[in-house]
Symmetry: D2
Subunit: 329 residues, 4 copies
């Protein structure tokens, strides 16, 4: 592991001599001042925690349902306690699960369940360039790597998730997997990626059509979108906009039916739109743990009737839609 781990340099390096090089200025401009903007105090704290994780050589990355890193030499009991204490500074851990030198991070979500349901339905990621919009901890980035993707970029403006990802990335600087702490509106229109994922973002956007257009602008001709979002049951004209909160979340705007969402996708120019997975989230797939001690799904549902949220809306139903952009422009 490099003691001078520089995530920006590694990312810029990955752009050189690719079609993305022309966006170097855009990216560098967005990323330049990241350490010193926003909640600097928090970033400085997390940055120090990150740097105090154990220094290990010969770190092995092992990806199955659990994304694991491990070393030849196990951590001593003292190191282990210290490491757990550091990792807990990065709570809440939402997307996972992970294993960090034999420390099992039981995240809020069994993100592997969704991955396993979705993977069979999408085009092969082998040697592909992939973008994950709203990537959270980056768990799925590693799964994309496992699936053979060549160049993998995740974006998410939440600082905490950035640091969660770096806990792992720092042990594999050479891997072409990068997390940029930016939102999609900060991305240049690359039309570069073979596959763009966005899971769990659309319903947080007050402007879902603009968001779908932004996703489209990242796709190369012939590329595929994999979009996961909350949906409601209903026909082409069914769209729930919750009055205030939905399942306790205050920033939920548009929850369309699958049919309505497909109309939207087609209207912005996507083709071949299909729902490849749909289901009510179970309280097994999303639950609190030692690593995510906030309330979770079970607390957001009507205790008397799990088919409703505590606000009385339909309980969270999540769908995965795949869609494509035309092969030639």
């Amino acid at each position: 592991m490099s003691s001078k781990f520089k995530w920006r340099s590694l990312f810029y390096q990955s752009l050189l001599n690719t079609k993305m090089e022309k966006y170097l200025a855009d990216f560098a401009d967005k990323l330049n001042d990241w350490d010193t903007c926003g909640n600097v105090k928090e970033k400085t704290k997390l940055s120090k925690q990150l740097a105090s994780l154990p220094e290990c050589n010969n770190v092995q990355l092992d990806i199955n349902d659990i994304v694991s890193i491990a070393s030849d030499l196990p951590l001593s009991e003292g190191e282990r306690r210290k490491t757990i204490s550091i990792l807990k500074q990065f709570m809440p851990w939402r997307k996972g699960p992970f294993s960090f030198f034999d420390i099992h991070i039981k995240t809020e979500w069994r993100s592997d369940w969704k991955w396993n349901r979705v993977l069979p339905h999408i085009k092969s990621l082998k040697n592909k360039k992939v973008l994950d919009v709203g990537c959270g901890s980056g768990y799925h980035l590693f799964r994309m790597h496992q699936a053979g993707a060549l160049q993998i970029i995740g974006i998410d403006p939440t600082s905490l998730f950035f640091y969660q990802f770096q806990c792992f990335k720092r042990y594999m600087p050479e891997q072409n997997i990068h997390f940029l702490p930016i939102g999609i509106e900060a991305m240049p229109s690359t039309q570069y990626f073979d596959c763009v994922f966005s899971m769990g973002v659309l319903y947080h956007r007050p402007d879902p059509i603009k968001f779908l257009k932004e996703l489209k602008q990242q796709l190369a001709p012939g590329g595929q979108l994999v979009l996961e979002t909350l949906v409601v049951e209903g026909d082409k004209t069914t769209v729930l906009v919750p009055n205030e909160r939905y399942a306790q979340m205050s920033n939920v705007w548009f929850i369309p039916s699958v049919k309505a969402l497909i109309v939207w996708l087609e209207k912005v120019g996507f083709e071949d739109c299909k729902c490849v997975d749909i289901g009510f989230t179970s309280t097994d797939e999303q639950q609190s743990s030692e690593w995510m001690q906030n309330q979770s799904l079970v607390d957001f549902l009507d205790p008397e009737n799990h088919s409703l949220t505590i606000e009385g809306y339909q309980a969270p139903l999540r769908a995965v839609i795949t869609a494509s952009v035309a092969s030639t422009k």
Copy 2:
């Protein structure tokens, strides 16, 4: 009538010594190059037509259902023919009706019908500052003047409508009625107006929530919004997004039910939202004429069944909603 009619100077003048003066730079910046940007050829042509309208003194403005300007001396038959020919350069005339020195301009819409239905339901405009977003020819600006408004600004990015308005405005440079050829996204956040109208715009926006927020940012504390848009019948979760065209219009995005629209308005912070007028547009209220020779409503409906558009959607149903922003911030 001034032979040196300068609409920009008149508008800037109207801002001096008001709370809007601080936005002088913003407005001047947007308006500066208007003559020489966009479709310059078209603008130059229309500008010349405008300048060749008859020069008359003692022009009287008379506002009833028909917005009229007239002079002591009637136009000669030759002048009349020439004037009709000029005014027809500004076709299609959509919002009206107008009378221009005894020439009756029969517009596509009987905009007076809507005005008369709506006026009883809104707060008095007496001595108020009013903004009309998407004002078209500006017909309603004159009706607001008739209703006693003190300062009246209409905005609409369509050049043709700008010139239609100037056909009248040039004879009344002293009136505090102004048309700015800009869209609402070009407006600074003034929080200045007592009443903001927007009629016939929302369904053209792919981002209706952003639009509602933009309208809100123009309202002073306690101000009132008067919003007219296409709606569909249905409950809180009914929102039609037409696949391609709706009543032959290609740029239609979100058509909510009244109930859904009220949820949206409340969600962005409006209060006291009420539907004050709703109805299917009749082919009497919207029809072609000598002054608007394109197809009109009758052509956009299913010939067999006027309750449907030719695409098979519900025929155009239009609602007017009033809503308020809180009195104190």
Copy 3:
């Protein structure tokens, strides 16, 4: 006198319906935040002092060598004492002399002496548009008014001078004399003025050629520059750049000979360059007073030899050069 004296509104008003209107956005942009930027505390203080000057009606402006304002009713002894106390808040008073309701403001400079030497040599200002770059208290702006100029703008970035000017301007809001608290680099390239004055600025600029170009960009075709600056004796290749201070001033860069300065002027495109006044400043023309209690010229000269500064350079020799730009472009 208006109790709602708004210098910006008055200036913007003066631009409407002139060729300068197109720069309204530029000016408004520069002036917008003036009250709330820079040394806000100082500005707030001076602004309050300004507002507490006596309210008088029928204020008469009387311009001779002394620029005077007076009222029918003399100030009471108490008012007079208070007014003197307020005016002294605006010290040091450098350019003058002024008389303010019978209070004589004895400024550091007898600016009238220079004016009287120069005026006979320049083109008539009758009905001209005039700009004074680095106008100080604005004393010369009033003299330009006396000389018949139609539109008079002074610019100077020093806040104190701005407030000195406003002490007088507030009693004559209707006069077309305006002080903008900006430097010349903030001016759009107007090519508008018939005469541009700049007295006492050039030697403070590290880039005198750029400054001459900036002055030129303010002149209409055929317009005249009146440039006053420190010079040294010498030939075309004589330019003094003082090592550190010159006559105690730390920000002095280039002091050319008259011949060198004329080469510079010609090189940037001026024509018909002439030195119309040159002389060593006397300690009578520049001296301390009750209204300017800092050190003045006598303190900056070698006490043994008044032909030298205390640093050993040639004593301040000041020249006035006139130059023109071509009539047609």
Copy 4:
């Protein structure tokens, strides 16, 4: 030699993991559109010429007074003729001499003579970071490399010189020598370089003080400036500003005496300023050739009196000044 020679990628690569990385956005922003801006037709032509230079492996760089590249296999007679023809597309060749696969490029200047005079007087370049402002063909960049410099950047906005440099650089992509086709005003304030050269630029600047400040902003604490410019004989107050042309050059502004120039340098904060080389340029050092067929020095001098230019000014006298910035800030 790489057939995919990418000068930008190579430069960006050189910045990664150095203190210059933070300026990546600035540089990429300036360099992004270089191929497609300015005189695109000319650039496209020269770019094609560049690409048609011979492809050789095992190219050896050999730097003596002549900067040479050579290959194991000599060019065939046909290749040689073709190569000469290509290289002549990049005429005029001013700074040199060069040898290109045994083709001797006899440049206008014997730049090696100046280098050899100056090198003994400057601090060692061994392992230093060096910037050459106005580097021309980049001849001196190679000499800096020979002298042991670690990282070498030349900047010059003239496209032709850029392509001259690339004729050589393309055979040594791995060398840390880079030419950026920008002027110094486009450089961020790096305070990075141990040594900044600027030879033959100052007298072309209408704002020499600003230029000296710009040079200073590129120097790390303790760094050294090597400044070569035209000078005149004279004392501290002697500065020639030629009326129109100087030695036929139309863009000559300030030619100070050495003493005056040292005052300027000290005034902007340089220390330890010394003139290390001065002399009238001989017509042997600067002359036309088959590779630079324009007029040269001999044509710019008074034919009767080589101590004068044809305009009657003192003949070109060039001085090299070294100066330092303080070690600690």
